[in-house]
């Protein structure tokens, strides 16, 4: 159950990164297109590369977590899911909070951050479920089986 919730969360979160994060006039940009404008935001050089690597690296991280869930390395998958959810959730939460830009020509578009945040929450909930249920079963086994 936890793995299924986490898997849905991972997919939702990654899908959210491809939804609009920034609106400029009538044009919207997803999170990766926003990253491509990092020079404009003064995030050039090493800082820009690090931020981009971490954000783009979320997809491989989600993929690794999903693969580990499939092959039933659930605890490791849950830990990776927690890392994924924390990173994507924090960024999405900050963007969602800053999302009110009514009347402005340029502003944060709420769709991408909100979906990513929802996915991150599901991922974290799923991961916690997996970790706690495994722990519970381990305790039951060690204490109860002959």
């Amino acid at each position: 159950m936890g793995a299924a919730i986490a898997a849905v969360g991972l997919i939702t979160s990654i899908a959210g990164t491809f939804l609009p994060w920034l609106k400029s006039g009538m044009t919207t940009r997803d999170s990766y297109e926003v990253l491509s404008l990092r020079d404009l935001a003064g995030l050039d050089g090493v800082a820009g590369s690090v931020v981009t690597s971490v954000w783009v690296g979320l997809t491989p991280l989600a993929m690794i977590a999903a693969v580990l869930y499939v092959v039933r390395f659930r605890r490791i998958a849950a830990c990776i899911g927690l890392l994924f959810g924390t990173i994507s959730g924090t960024v999405a939460l900050l963007a969602t909070v800053q999302g009110d830009s009514k009347g402005a020509l340029v502003g944060i578009s709420i769709a991408g951050p909100a979906v990513t945040l929802a996915g991150a929450v599901l991922t974290i909930v799923g991961a916690i479920t997996v970790l706690t249920s495994n722990r519970r079963s381990a305790v039951i086994t060690s204490g109860g089986n002959p």
């Binding site: 297109e33 990253l35 491509s36 404009l40 499939v70 009347g103 020509l105």
Partner: protein, 515 residues
Amino acid sequence: MSYPGGGGGQWQPQNNPQQGGYPQQGGYPQQPQQGGYPQQGGHPQQPQQGGYPQQGGYQQGPPQTGPQGFPQQPHPQQGYPQTGPQGFPQQGFDQQPYGYAPMGGEPPKKKRTGLVITAVVVVLLLVGGAVTFFALKKSDPSANAGQDTPAVAAKNLIEQLGSGDVVGIAASLAPAEAALSKDYMDSMTKEMKRLQILKPEADPNKLSGIEFKSENIKFDEAKAEKINDHLTINKLVEGKITVTSDISKVPLTDKLMDAIGDKVSLTKSETKTWDITAEVQKRGTPIGIATIKVGDKWYPSAFYTIANVGLEEEKLKWPQQGFAPQGAGSAQDAAKQLVTAAMDGDLKQVISLLPPDEAGVLQDLGPLLLEQAGKMGPTGAKLNELETDVKDVTGGKQVTIKKLSVTVEGETVSIARDGDCYSATVPGQGAQKLCADEITQLMNQQGGGKIPAAAVEIIGRVAASVMKTGVGVVATKVDGKWYVSPVRSYYELALTVFRGFEPKDVDALIELLKK
């Protein structure tokens, strides 16, 4: 991980002879075994003698239950039957799923779990890889860095303008122009907030209170004018651009809104439509949008477009060949060479000392500017000495005068700066010294009480700010050489003046507006 043996258990009758062994029930094909133990349920067995160490494969020994949900690492076991974790992957074994030995010779059901898991993993890896590749490509800054042809660059700019995509415009403008705009927009906004002209939450990037819309924009590519290898003027012939402004959405402070409230309508938005088709018919010529080549990409250029408008109005043509840039070895040298060239009346040298990225338009227009300026002789002034201070500013280095000595018509004038005090030596008048904190006092003496006290205070404060910062130019480095940037020098001076103001000065200005 592999699941050999026909997907987990192809039952076959056991006909293999076993030496010294016991009857085997159910199970899987077995290799000859010597002195072994009974086998229940089965796994392929390696030849075994005496029931001892096995290599790879499956072990025999006491029942063992591995933790569920965890993989097991390979570890040789001897002599006891083993029951592995059920339904979980194991690493290191060339294995079949652990068996439930068909005691009565029932063949096990064919398991396809391994195949399904492998397929799912492969699909996940492929999808993940593709998504990552796509994301990487999208996040590459070069995706915004110019276009392959001048026509596409110009069209993009107009489309972005039409959709109000200011972020796209900023990203697609020529890099040096975009950097200039960004650097000083941020600094100016900061000052405006400090002076309580803009609200504290104002964000220069949001550009509140204005909207753009374009319709049916069309360029005539056949009429595009190629000036040289790095400049093409694209011809805009049709379309409409509508700009809607709403001052009530501009993040001005309440006190400023109150002050201008009577002068402008704060409730109605204004819409202006620029009919390009009608404008082109009226002018008789298309509207030129200049694009320049930087590296191997084309960018729209605001500076070149403005210059082109000027040339069209004056009915002048772009020179075929511009001036080559001639940078200096250091910021100080660039400033010194510029002053010397200006004193010598050498306009060509002055233009050559400007940055080729920001002021390339002036170098391209150079021969024409020289021709329009007419013959310029030396000013007669001679630079004897120029000592400078250098400090880092946004985008370059600000070079300010520390000591200057100039001879004009045989007379030498010297100015030296010490902190926020300046001393000037003028022939016949001796040395005079003026410090920043004396400006207000001096103005009161000179003005004789005619200038309002508030104005004296403001002027004194602004002058003091300029004296403290120092007067100078900003030099930028391009391709390893230093050039003097006129735009950045102007902006730095403007910022210095702004920094001399205080919020109460704006209040005084508002009071004047109300009167």
